[in-house]
């Protein structure tokens, strides 16, 4: 039960945060210049966006939940199971970001989820 609560926050807050950051990044646009000054400006520009801050807040919640569960569970169990966020992420990307997810990509995500389930069973 305790594990389930931690995974709930890791998956939902973590994925929600990544979706917010992704929305912020898409509004900045594609990066072509990788020089330090340009990358510094890229970081400054991203910090001006409310979506970025909301994303960082949610990802922080997910991060501390990850720290919490890592204090009593194996890394090789926790991290693969947290990949449940793939399913949440795909639905979120479709609904929230309007991404078109092809049939092959859905199949790949489904296979990843099967792998995550096997890792979960390996603990029992």
């Amino acid at each position: 039960m305790r594990e389930a609560i931690f995974f709930f926050f890791i998956v939902l807050a973590g994925t929600g945060g990544e979706l917010c950051v992704s929305k912020a990044m898409k509004s900045i646009g594609e990066v072509h210049d990788f020089r330090p000054k340009a990358l510094f400006l890229f970081v400054i520009n991203s910090l001006r966006l409310p979506w970025m801050w909301l994303g960082v807040l949610l990802m922080s919640l997910g991060f501390f939940s990850l720290l919490g569960i890592l204090s009593f569970q194996e890394v090789s169990f926790v991290v693969p199971v947290s990949a449940l966020s793939y399913a949440a992420g795909a639905f979120g990307a479709k609904v929230f970001l309007g991404e078109r997810i092809s049939r092959n990509r859905w199949i790949g995500i489904a296979v990843v989820c099967v792998g995550v389930s096997i890792v979960w069973w390996s603990k029992r």
Partner: protein
Amino acid sequence: MTHTRRLQLKTIPLILISIVSGPLGNVFLGKGMKRVGAVTSATTSEWFSFAVHALTAGYVWLGIACLLTFFIAHMLLLTWADYSYVQPATSLSYFFLTVLSYFVLGETISPLRWLGVSVICLGVFIVGRTAPSTTPASGAI
């Protein structure tokens, strides 16, 4: 050079950085948190004390540095590639993480867990054969 080919040339190195830095960060966090000790209650003061204790552990900061590297690579990727492509593509890191857990942390990895990680990698292979971006770009720096 086609647009898709150009995108793949800069996407693949950043995905490789993500695959290495993400698992390294998690392994360092795991090592640090095992030293901090388990959370025993859900009270606010207990959580505050836990967070302060965690943030004073050297391995946790090493882990945070690796995860920051992962995060920056991830942010750059997301400026041109779909989230639904980037997220599964970087999941190759699960294989690397399992290897590190075995050799660095000394965790016991059962055959079933190896099977699960292998299936995850198969899913990643399928996702990697789809186009990195399916939506029009909104701007550029």
